[in-house]
């Protein structure tokens, strides 16, 4: 719980600057710069996910979310943890 009373559930291992941003109330204390930083972070996770997606497709499988998880630093999750039962 942050000082503003806002708790945001983030992937583990997200870098410190983003944790600082996400610890603040996004409704009232995010600046345009904060939002741009979040956009940059999400673009990074998208690139990683796209790479993992392609690798999975090359193996003839549906892609999974490991890329996005790696960006969060948690490499110990199982497919069940990721909620990928519908893939």
């Amino acid at each position: 719980m942050s000082e503003t009373g806002v708790t945001v559930d983030l992937p583990e291992g997200i870098d410190d600057s983003l944790n600082e941003i996400f610890s603040r109330d996004p409704l009232h204390s995010w600046s345009a710069e904060d939002r741009i930083r979040v956009i940059q972070h999400l673009r990074e996770t998208r690139k990683i996910f796209a790479r993992e997606d392609q690798v999975a497709k090359n193996k003839g499988k549906r892609a999974n979310a490991k890329g996005a998880i790696k960006s969060g630093g948690n490499k110990n999750l199982t497919l069940d943890d990721l909620g990928l039962g519908d893939l």
Partner: protein
């Protein structure tokens, strides 16, 4: 249960002699009536909503708001990155609980972080792969505004001297390969053929296509559904095309007239029967506990488990957003 009726002040219920008769219909009202008359009574006429969290609904409203602002800004000449930042801000500001605080979702695939990711990934996805050159081009209205989140309303039919109207809100009206389509964003936990199959026949899509044809006086070939898969750690996007023959639209109009006739009978008698075959649909009807309770217990149950929030299709969403 009469004391629950909350249609007073609802612009969709304007008939002085039949206060339960809805004269302005949108797809939510019509769909609820088709699903179960008792559900229609509780949800639309009484305005009851369960206090249970509504992650998917709050997420969907915030995502739609972001898309609307993105298209408005792009139409005004903003570059992709500027429009994206504005869209993200709009989505964030919409993601609130009833007290106005940041909504704390219970499901991780519909939480705040997932919302930000869905907005950024979706808009970047279609920018990379062609929002700039997207063959589905947003129709620009005569007033210069893009046809995004656009409210429509039109006269439908007169029954026994009473005029009835249909209304709705487009996510988008687009031109694709020389044909016009209504376009709608839909979030889901999974995508695929089964996901897109649910939209034809479909109450909402049929009404939007009919509305587009009447209001814009153009043949609408069908609907485009931009599906957004929401998972815990990723989003995927898929576009589906729903071609709808004119015969199907005509049939929908005939059916709708019959449904309104049936609603008039309910309003005249004040009797809204239960359709028990719908109780377990869509994860279970939120009013099931009311129907299970004896009539004498219902008021207390309603006071403790439900809040009143009037669904009024007469409120123009575009004006609401831009006011």
């Amino acid at each position: 249960m009469r004391e629950l009726i909350a249609t007073s002040g609802n612009g969709s219920f304007k008939h002085s002699e039949l206060p339960l008769l809805q004269t302005l219909w949108d797809s939510t009202s019509l769909g609820t009536l088709k699903e179960c008359p008792m559900k229609y009574f509780l949800q639309i006429i009484c305005g009851l909503q369960s206090k249970a969290p509504k992650d998917a609904l709050v997420f969907g409203i915030a995502f739609h708001k972001a898309m609307q602002i993105y298209h408005y800004r792009r139409a005004a000449g903003a570059k992709h990155d500027d429009a994206l930042e504005g869209a993200l801000n709009a989505g964030i500001q919409e993601f609130r609980d009833p007290e106005g605080n940041l909504y704390l979702a219970q499901k991780k695939d519909r939480n705040f972080y997932s919302l930000c990711r869905a907005i950024v990934w979706h808009l970047d996805h279609f920018n990379d792969q062609g929002f700039k050159d997207d063959p589905a081009r947003t129709v620009i209205l005569d007033n210069g505004k893009p046809a995004a989140e656009l409210s429509f309303r039109f006269y439908f039919v007169t029954l026994d001297g009473i005029d009835f109207f249909l209304c709705g809100h487009f996510d988008h009206l687009v031109e694709f390969n020389g044909q016009n389509f209504v376009k709608d964003y839909k979030t889901s936990s999974s995508l695929g053929q089964n996901f897109f199959d649910q939209f034809f026949p479909d109450n909402q899509m049929s009404l939007y296509i009919l509305g587009g044809q009447v209001v814009y006086k153009k043949r609408i070939a069908g609907a485009i559904v931009d599906g957004v898969q929401c998972a815990v750690h990723f989003n995927r996007f898929q576009r589906g095309f729903i071609q709808m023959p004119q015969e199907s639209i005509n049939e929908f109009a005939e059916d709708t007239e019959m449904w309104i006739r049936i609603a008039k009978v309910y309003a005249e008698t004040g009797h809204y029967p239960k359709n028990e075959k719908s109780c377990d649909k869509y994860g279970g009807c939120p009013y099931r506990e009311i129907c299970r309770s004896p009539d004498s217990m219902r008021l207390n149950l309603i006071k403790s488990h439900y809040v009143t929030k009037i669904w009024d299709p007469s409120i123009d969403r575009e004006e609401e957003h831009t006011a």
